[in-house]
């Protein structure tokens, strides 16, 4: 049996490609199954594929690496119940380290499965992710590049949205950054493109694969140093200036965290009074500018707060809640707490991890 593991960030076109590839294989008499994977309980992708009459199963609550046994069980079910010869397994967008945590354990414990990894990237995004790292302040491009490193086949998708001249430059870019990688330049809505991809996977000769070099202690620790606070509040006022008061509260919260000299990973606010919305983010050393002079007259406003701050979660929580309480008293408005969670993220805990 063949397992086609499909990785790539959200929006890279994985699900559409799987749908069209499944249809192509079914037309050729090959029995297909699909396993989807997401963190959320409601899997939109699953519904999309089920509507197309393709046997679909899902791994929820975490990526394949942490749910290895579930993945293994679903593959066995697709094989027994649906006689699947080819299974597409679509991993969650940010999943990396698939060779060490999925492919190698399968080779060890499930020898009759041949796995090929395809990683999808959006042609419109790839140049920025491959060439922008020195300019960008976040580390998303690190995870993005780690994913590409793991690909047996790299699919640069959505080629229909770029010009011929851009395609030539795209090929040079991929060749320069990944000289030994098999790359397909694909439009997943085009039957010929899908056929080429399926042929490439069927013909792929498995060579030895290197597990990614990821130091889980460093990787996990970098995340775990930060306390996470997610808070949703509603500010209700009699003044008809709820939006402005909300903005002032946001500034106040930022100042309170700064005053304690706590390092900020990011501090994001989304403020919405039903008419006007504003996203305000503060990261280390920078802040987005508050824009627009458009005044609205509202008596209540919703504020979403996502804070990633170097601190104990309890401390961050009480700092924010105390400041809100103080603001209520000083300004005469009422704040209703709708949702609150604060924690320190755990370390990634894959079921198996087989390094080289």
């Amino acid at each position: 049996m063949k397992l086609y593991l499909i990785g790539g960030f959200l929006g890279s076109g994985k699900t559409t490609a799987i749908l069209n590839a499944s249809a192509e294989l079914i037309r050729n008499g090959i029995k297909v199954g699909v396993i989807t994977n997401d963190q959320g309980a409601a899997l939109v992708d699953t519904r999309f594929l089920k509507n197309a009459n393709i046997p679909v199963m899902e791994v929820t609550d975490g990526c394949f690496c942490c749910n290895y046994h579930k993945l293994d069980e679903l593959m066995a079910m697709l094989k027994e119940k649906h006689h699947a010869e080819v299974i597409f397994a679509e991993s969650v967008g940010s999943c990396t380290d698939m060779i060490a945590t999925v492919v190698k354990p399968l080779q060890k414990f499930n020898k009759d499965i041949e796995t090929v990894i395809t990683v999808f990237v959006d042609a419109n995004v790839l140049p920025t992710m491959l060439q922008g790292a020195p300019l960008f302040v976040d580390s998303v491009s690190y995870v993005y590049k780690k994913q590409i490193e793991e690909a047996d086949v790299l699919v640069v998708n959505k080629m229909d949205s770029i010009t011929e001249a851009e395609l030539e430059k795209m090929k040079l870019l991929v060749e320069r950054k990944y000289p030994n990688k098999m790359a397909l330049f694909q439009n997943s809505l085009d039957e010929l493109s899908i056929k080429k991809w399926m042929t490439a996977l069927a013909d792929f000769k498995i060579k030895s694969r290197d597990s990614l070099v990821i130091d889980y202690d460093i990787y996990g620790a970098a995340e775990a140093e930060l306390a996470w606070l997610d808070l949703e509040i509603e500010l209700v006022t009699g003044t008809h200036h709820a939006f402005e008061q909300g903005l002032a509260l946001i500034k106040d919260l930022h100042e309170a965290i700064n005053k304690e000299k706590l390092a900020v990973g990011h501090l994001k606010f989304f403020i919405d009074d039903g008419i006007r919305q504003e996203k305000i983010s503060f990261t280390a050393g920078t802040q987005s500018f508050l824009s627009g002079n458009r005044n609205t007259f509202s008596t209540k406003v919703d504020i979403l707060i996502n804070a990633r701050v170097q601190s104990a979660p309890e401390h961050l929580e009480s700092l924010v809640l105390n400041r809100i309480q103080k603001a209520e008293k000083n300004n005469g408005y009422k704040v209703v707490q709708k949702r609150l969670s604060s924690f320190k993220p755990g370390y990634p805990k894959p079921v198996h991890r087989i390094p080289d």
């Binding site: 992710m129 060439q131 960008f136 870019l173 503060f282």
Partner: protein
Amino acid sequence: MKIEDKTVVSIRYKMENSKGEILEDNLNGLPISYLHGEGSILPSLEAELAGLNQGEEKQIFLSKEKGYKDLDDEFYIKVIVDHIRFATAKEIEEGLNPQVADNYCGPEGCC
């Protein structure tokens, strides 16, 4: 059109550090894009780019001495502004480039 907050800016650039090492050079390649005013790129570079027009070129020198405290080195950057457009509401809300979701490595310790 000028580079201002909430515009999507496409640039090509060559960036060197104080040792003369080239960190990236896509002057002859495809541009990169970012959302201006969101703090997604180096704040000091963002400040230098603000107000530039489409088609404009600029030689930029970034250093702590110029008041840019966010830097760990000095950088010479040649920038060509290829394209500027207003960001869509979705881009302002979700960001322009792929993000690692907020629940990445969440309470269950699973990525």
